[in-house]
């Protein structure tokens, strides 16, 4: 793909759960087409025998005992929640 269309914008926006208007789709289509072109240069690099680098340092898993701790206060945390009741977060009906 070299041209990122408005339909592409809406298709991927749906996965990303971002609402976009037609006007926005036009703007994003143009900006992302530019980015797609910008990235095309990577095609010329021979990476046949190259491993992907997933992390800058070689690290090892660190295991510890799983001991429950009281770290954060529920009431404190609920202060950031717009809608809650009886210690539970409210969302609209989903069924």
């Amino acid at each position: 793909m070299t041209k990122f269309t408005q339909d592409d914008v809406k298709y991927f926006a749906n996965f990303a759960r971002i609402g976009v208007s037609d006007d926005e789709a036009e703007v994003f289509a143009e900006l992302i087409s530019e980015l797609v072109g910008f990235g095309d240069v990577l095609k010329e690099v021979d990476t046949d025998h190259v491993e992907p680098m997933t992390h800058p340092l070689q690290l090892f898993n660190v295991l510890r005992e799983d001991v429950p701790q009281d770290i954060l206060d529920r009431e404190e945390m609920l202060k950031s929640v717009e809608e809650h009741e009886a210690g539970m977060i409210k969302v609209p009906n989903i069924l």
Partner: protein, 488 residues
Amino acid sequence: MTLMKKSAAELQQLLHNREVSVKELTEDSLQQIAKLDGKVQAFLAVTEKEALSQAESLDNEPMENRGPLFGLPIGIKDNIITKGITTTCASKMLENFVPVYDATVTNKVKQAGMVSVGKLNMDEFAMGSTTERSAFKTTHNPWNLDRVPGGSSGGSAAAVAAGEVPFALGTDTGGSVRQPAAFCGVVGMKPTYGRVSRYGLVAFASSLDQIGPITRTVEDNALLLNAIAGVDQWDSSSSPKQVPDFRAALTGDIKGLRIAVPKEYLGEGIADDVKESVLEALKVLESLGATWEEVTLPHSKYASPVYYTIATSEASSNLARFDGIRYGYHPEGAKNLEEIYLRSRSEGFGTEVKKRILYGTYALSADHHEDLYVKAMKVRTLIAQDFANLFEKYDVVIGPTSATTAYEIGGVAQNQLTLYANDVLTVSVNLAGVPAISVPCGISNGLPVGLQIIGNHFDEPLVYKVAHAYEQATDFHKQSPSQGEGNE
């Protein structure tokens, strides 16, 4: 005369001689902010009450219990969480977000006895290099108010340059500590990936993000990294390597230092004035006993596209947590769950953030994952290998921090590809995970130029040693911007 342009050592002397109290020092910082920030616009929140009450209690601490940063004011970039104090990431999405715990670095600066005076402006979610992408305000460069301070840690660099605070914390995913430090004529360090805990840093691109200090001098920078570095049980990617005393490395002796200067870092696209300043800096380093050779980083031309593919992919995943339900922007009157998601993310995020999430979602999608994301990770291996090869023969890699001096506000930032291409000097460092510092190395048309010194993994002591030796041999760090004490 403000105290905010004094070094940590000078301020400690004043505190120990009881010529000044921690409270007076804090008041001085707050007065500077009141006086200058109307123009500079570095702060998103000034926490006067909390700072003064903390300062009063610190004044009771016996002198023998105080460390080198005790009682000194600091500003914190607004993507680092602070308990009880808004942390917005300069986004409408988190406009009213008040964290319930502190980031590890926030804790560590408190433990060192530092007094946080507020939260600093940035590009929204650290996505940008001018600080113009903040949802709330545009920060101005203290050297020239019509110019950007750089970004994304533009508030941090501008606050230190203006003399509002002597210390600030920034974050660097693709150059966001070093480039604003260069634009504002201050010192900014991006430590080795894993050197500083990211716990409590709002994640942008987790394999690239690092928190770093921004200060007026190299010595102060080393002191602040001493305070924030080290393994953390809450960040499994933090390194268990022992943290050396970075200040102890500042011996001034760089005789025999072998410097690599990549020709790509002084080639096409690099402004002449920047090039000249860097070549002058190399002469200074030679006079101190170092030698330099031109080398090549063959894959550096791919660094920006690799960076944008990886950073946006990771961001699209990291920013999925902002769903409008548990915290953050919550749309009014949404009828169902789907509408809460769509509207909170559409109304809460700015254009640059949405664009990057969309591109990242595309790069990670089933049809394009191999061609884009995995391909970029493979080229990342080659970029890291380029650095590893150089460090077999050379001690440090040196070049400019930024291709030009500070841009005009409303100028180059309007063209995304120019901006992204300008990142080529800084992004490779994050891709390789190595440490790098920016120190002032010149002033051109009234704007600072930054010298970038890159070291091997965990070789911050050497990076600091070289930066300090250079700084002490020049006086760029003693020059002050037009906005600030002395010459308004």
